[in-house]
């Protein structure tokens, strides 16, 4: 499945003009407040009629202004999670959740409502009405409502912004599952680099209504120049395989022959997954470090050194596990005498690999 979007639309203060084809999976729209993300999503949903453009899911045209084709919103089979919830105030939470199911074709793949409700932790709210719910509760119901509509495309406009970290960590895997197992394409708006790294198959960086950067997540996220995420979002994405769970609560991973430890993850031994290693979490050393608390040390060869903004530089190190990015100060580059071709050691703290940086099964972008 793929998503093809061409849009051109003038708003009073903003000219939207973008065009991209996204592969199956999660396409993240990334950009500053006011850059036009919601507007793009609305155009895909059919809530905004762009002046010119075409949107197609896997060849199925939602609209094409040239051919004068226009599917009304209710025929598009979407699950739109709105930035502001938009729950139906006169219905209970249960009725909100089941609303889309009335209209889904009988043969459509159906989520198991009980599972969704449990995952979102809203079982105790089912008979309440939206008005009394907290901000986060509302947003969880909105997510559930969209998921249960058996959509062919999920539009998620900052779905997790109102949620606490623990809840985020619970819900993120669900989006991964949607991406990996059910292959519903997802157009996902977020500000969070962690969410991008974890979910994105491809990333479209928006700025003033234009797509300034577009590509596979691993590429875009390795590029310090993308404005919205900032240099702190840069990181490498490694394909790894779970080798063993240790008794002291660590999980051992295997990546291209190298070993990596991180706090216990729920995945099974043998399972493949991808992890993001934020560049700023990586320390480089020019000799094998000893007596350090950090358990992960990867030997490699410096490939490139890019001076980033400010006092920092991004050093790319080729290791058996894959390329690792490290963000260090230029002063350290000088002090360690780093230059391309030189051998060095990347030190990664075990606990620095945050759960939100560990994704589900990897699908090739």
């Amino acid at each position: 499945m793929s998503l093809s979007i061409h849009l051109r639309h003038d708003l009073p203060d903003l000219r939207l003009d973008l065009s991209f084809d996204a592969p199956s999976g999660v396409t993240v729209l990334f950009g500053r407040s006011g850059s036009g993300k919601t507007t793009v999503v609305n155009a895909v949903a059919g809530l905004l009629r762009p002046q010119t453009g075409r949107v197609a899911i896997d060849g199925w045209e939602l609209f094409d202004t040239q051919k004068n084709r226009w599917l009304p919103p209710h025929r598009r089979r979407l699950g739109y999670i709105f930035q502001e919830g938009r729950l139906f105030p006169h219905m209970t939470v249960r009725q909100n959740l089941y609303y889309g199911r009335w209209f889904a074709p009988k043969r459509a793949r159906r989520e198991n409502p009980d599972k969704v409700i449990e995952m979102l932790g809203i079982g105790h709210l089912l008979d309440r009405r939206p008005a009394g719910l907290s901000g986060g509760e509302k947003q969880r119901v909105a997510i559930g409502r969209a998921l249960l509509a058996s959509p062919r495309l999920i539009l998620a406009d900052e779905p997790l912004a109102a949620l606490d970290d623990a809840r985020k960590a619970e819900i993120l895997p669900y989006f991964e599952r949607l991406r990996d197992e059910v292959s519903v394409p997802i157009l996902y708006v977020t500000h969070s680099a962690a969410e991008v790294a974890r979910l994105a198959t491809s990333v479209v960086a928006l700025q003033d209504g234009k797509a300034v950067r577009h590509g596979p997540a691993s590429e875009v996220m390795a590029d310090p120049s993308i404005a919205p995420a900032g240099v702190r979002a840069v990181g490498a994405v490694l394909n790894v395989r779970v080798r063993e769970h240790h008794a002291d609560g660590l999980t051992e991973l295997e990546a291209g022959g190298a070993r990596l430890f991180l706090p216990r993850i729920p995945h099974q031994a043998g399972e493949g997954l991808r992890i993001r290693i934020p560049a700023q979490e990586v320390i480089l050393s020019n000799k094998r470090p000893e007596g350090l608390s950090a358990l992960n040390v990867l030997e490699g060869v410096v490939e490139t050194i890019r001076a980033g903004e400010g006092p920092g530089a991004i050093v790319s190190v080729k290791t058996p596990a894959g390329p690792i990015l490290a963000r260090i100060t230029r002063r350290s580059v000088a002090a360690l005498g780093l230059e391309p071709g030189q051998t060095c050691f990347a030190v990664i703290k075990t606990v620095a690999l945050a759960p939100q940086d560990v994704g589900g099964r990897l699908t090739a972008p």
Partner: protein
Amino acid sequence: MGWLGPAELEALRLSLRVSFWATLVTLPFGIFVAYALARWRFPGRQLLNGLVHLPLILPPVVTGYLLLLTFGVQGPLGRLLAEFGIVVAFRWTGAALAAGIMAFPLMVRAIRLSIEAVDPKLEQAGATLGASRPFVFATVTLPMILPGVIAGGILAFAKAMGEFGATITFVSNIPGQTQTLPSAVYAFLQVPGGESAATRLVVVSIVIAMGALLLSEYVGRRAAARVSGS
């Protein structure tokens, strides 16, 4: 109500029947027209709007006369309806027609205001979830405007209970057939000594209308509470 004579009871019963049907039958039209006026842009929209308000502006006698001209025995619409076996001239159905038409602007205004207060964003949300326009209307818009519909309905009912000028002009004042409470009151007021009988009837209509009003307040409040969730 032992103190109402049989003729008066008959007028009361008739008034209730006329008002009930006038309200019930016009309600769907009222909702439709209100929705069209609130949400659609079409040529002739202002004309429709004006037409709807006409019974409010015209002296009731004039409305009644116009009804007599069009729906009477010899009127074009009256004849048309007669071919389908529907006779309204000098029947209680005609009284209901007159009351319904007189109440229509009130009903439409009330419903229209509540439709305009519904956030279109919620209707959009319904659409993205797969509901077509009529479904969105039935499941989102209609429940949310219920307080307005109830208000409009009760306004119409009260107006119908009090309507007199157009009714008597259109279908006359025939006991048991077209003599509603207000027409009976009118007749009593035209003769010496009729005041006490008229007062009795007026009190009865007040009691009924107030009862309906209280009921509508209660139902409307519950509907509103459901929407606001409190």
